[in-house]
Amino acid sequence: MSDDNILALLRAREQEGLSYLLDKYAGLMKYIVKNTGIENDEDMSECISDILFTIWKRINKYNQAKASFKTWIVIITRGCAIDYLRKYSKHSNVISFDDINEIPVSDNSYLNGLENNLLYLLQELSPPDNHIFYKRFVLGESVTEIAKDIGITQENVYKRISRGKEKLKDLMKREGYRYA
């Protein structure tokens, strides 16, 4: 089913839409959630359920002018996974969005921030380093994985991520976004 049709179902408050959404994006959600550090099946299903519930609640806040539906889902997924981890996992050696602690990541501030500003800023991170930045912070992939995938050294990945963060900081400054 197309994103437009799923979106229409969800906006019409048809729960069937969640089922189609899951059919299409469950695997991607699982990939992101797993990258965020949630491994066991029970937590995984609870977290993805949180994601669906968040999408259900916030569907009317989705703005096509800011991002594609898929991007919005990916961002919600990552945000919910981080929130889940913060809420339920006391001991985790996960590297997350916290690494860029200028970006608020918890519950409302994270999602509200995304819907208001941050999503725009992430959209604007330009090549060549944006791809690596997205893989790291949007999909939650490890530096090792990224280095292997792209065929560069881990040090190089870190450098490019660092450049991405600097660009993001500049964009945030430009928008009057406050960061520590």
Partner: protein, 469 residues
């Protein structure tokens, strides 16, 4: 500005087909999500109360009292049915169910006790066992979840002149392995012609009988003074819907109160039963006492607001005795900010809790170290925050604090404070109205500032006696 869509380009290149998820997990996820939606929905619909037929008012309405003003603001009276709350955010209710309907077919049944129409939507709450009584493999957890996720549960159709319409939204819940009884909350979108109907007919897949309900239009704006069968206890209004037959008296209690009152209940949980000697009960004209039958409540899938009493039908002069009402008040906006106390150093706070009518003083905060004998099991392995509080008995001497539960927030690094994963423990307060809570939360040892909000559990003690006719 914002014309670039690099992130969209990136996500567009991710192929969903590269990832997969097991079918069983999908079912599980959907099941959990539907439950969350239903819970959320009922939190919303809780604000719509419909109840009360046979209660007599003992505590009369006092003109111009706060409760009366509240009633005037939010209620509509439905002749022969009860009261409907009509608060902000809830569409105008146009019609409600005339009387409960139960249709039997062999071992199967469909029962509709609540139905109302708002704008162009018909909402039903149904209790049934159709499709579950003889369902094969329902003991299998996967099949069971599939059923209650709505995948295999029977569908309800609205039968109209132009054919059958499938419900636009259904949420299944229940469930009882033992009785196979489950609930469905169903929504139908009505066209303009259907809205004016008085009678609605339904079919349920696998159930061979037609289910028919009759709706009555709502007379909105009726003054609450004209409403009988409501008990007013302090600022809390209690409604009850009573039915009787086959030696069973069923009392469905509901209540409405100013917004600061949350989770109003009459049921005592085990730890509270030790503090209060009496739970809700019925007394007949000869002084015979009848206690609620909890087993019967479970068998009827009733919530804690449903009470079942074994009372012969011929017994007259019944009175419902309500010894106490329990409720919460929440202070989530004007919490207390403190710096984190050091281990074994008591920090004085002495701030009055910002709650309507509150006389609670948050006195001190301290950190109890790992392993301290004061810490209950489950908390001993953490350093814990202890908060001591006390309450001064105010004008409302019937209201007592049961305990004060903190909700700790920690700095989020940029925009203020955010909640953190935490566990709290507090024993019930006694007549001295003092107590403490123990909280463990992530990052306690590294946190320098905290914001504390509070949940306060209260009890108002009576007793109040309501004649049942």
């Amino acid at each position: 500005m914002h014309k670039n869509r690099y992130l969209d380009e990136f996500t567009e290149n991710i192929l969903e087909s590269d990832f997969s998820i097991e079918a069983v997990m999908k079912t599980e996820i959907l099941d959990k999500t539907y439950k969350k939606i239903k819970k959320n929905k009922w939190a919303y619909l809780k604000s719509i109360a419909a109840a009360c037929i046979l209660l007599v008012v003992l505590s009369a309405f006092i003109p111009d009292s706060p409760v009366n003003a509240l009633c005037k603001r939010i209620f509509s009276f439905i002749p022969g049915v009860g009261i409907v709350q009509n608060s902000d955010g809830v569409s105008q209710i146009k019609a409600v169910l005339n009387e409960p309907v139960k249709v039997l077919n062999g071992d199967e049944f469909v029962e509709i006790k609540t139905a109302y129409i708002t704008d162009n939507t018909l909402r039903l709450s149904i209790k049934t066992n159709v499709g579950a009584v003889d369902a094969e493999g329902i003991e299998d957890p996967v099949e069971f979840k599939r059923f209650f996720a709505g995948e295999t549960a029977p569908t309800l159709y609205l039968v109209g002149v132009n054919g059958k319409t499938k419900s636009s939204h259904s949420v299944w819940s229940g469930p009882s392995f033992e009785t196979r009884v489950y609930s469905i909350d169903v929504i139908f979108n009505l066209d303009e012609e259907s809205i004016i109907n008085e009678v609605y007919k339904f079919e349920m897949a696998g159930f061979n009988k037609l289910i028919e309900i009759t709706m009555s239009s709502v007379n909105s704006g009726t003054d609450p003074e004209s409403v009988s069968n409501v008990a007013v206890i302090d600022n809390i209004m209690v409604f009850a819907n009573i039915s009787r037959g086959n030696g069973i008296l069923e009392v469905l209690l509901s209540s409405v109160a100013p917004e600061e009152y949350n989770d109003i209940r009459f049921h005592l949980f085990d730890h509270e039963a030790q503090l209060f000697n009496n739970g809700i009960k019925v007394i007949d004209e000869d002084g015979m006492i009848y206690m609620p039958d909890e087993k019967l409540r479970e068998n009827n899938n009733g919530n804690i607001g449903s009470l079942y009493f074994n009372i012969p039908d011929k017994v007259k002069g019944l009175k419902l005795v309500v010894p106490q009402i329990l409720y919460n008040k929440r202070n989530y906006e004007n919490g207390i900010k403190i710096s984190m106390p050091k281990i074994e150093h008591e920090k004085k706070i002495n701030k009055k809790l910002d709650l309507p009518g509150s006389n609670i003083i948050i006195e001190t905060a301290s950190v109890v170290p790992v392993g301290d004998p004061l810490l209950p099991d489950g908390f001993k392995e953490f350093d814990c925050l202890r908060i001591d509080a006390g309450a001064v008995v105010g004008d409302n001497k019937r209201e007592m604090v049961l305990r004060v539960i903190p909700r700790v927030e920690v700095p989020d690094g940029s925009f203020g404070y955010n909640s953190t994963s935490q566990s709290s423990y507090a024993e019930l307060w006694g007549s001295d109205q003092k107590g403490y809570s123990i909280t463990s939360f992530d990052g306690l040892t590294s946190t320098k500032k905290i914001l504390i909000n509070f949940d306060v559990e209260y009890a108002m003690t009576g007793p109040w006696i309501i004649n049942l006719k």
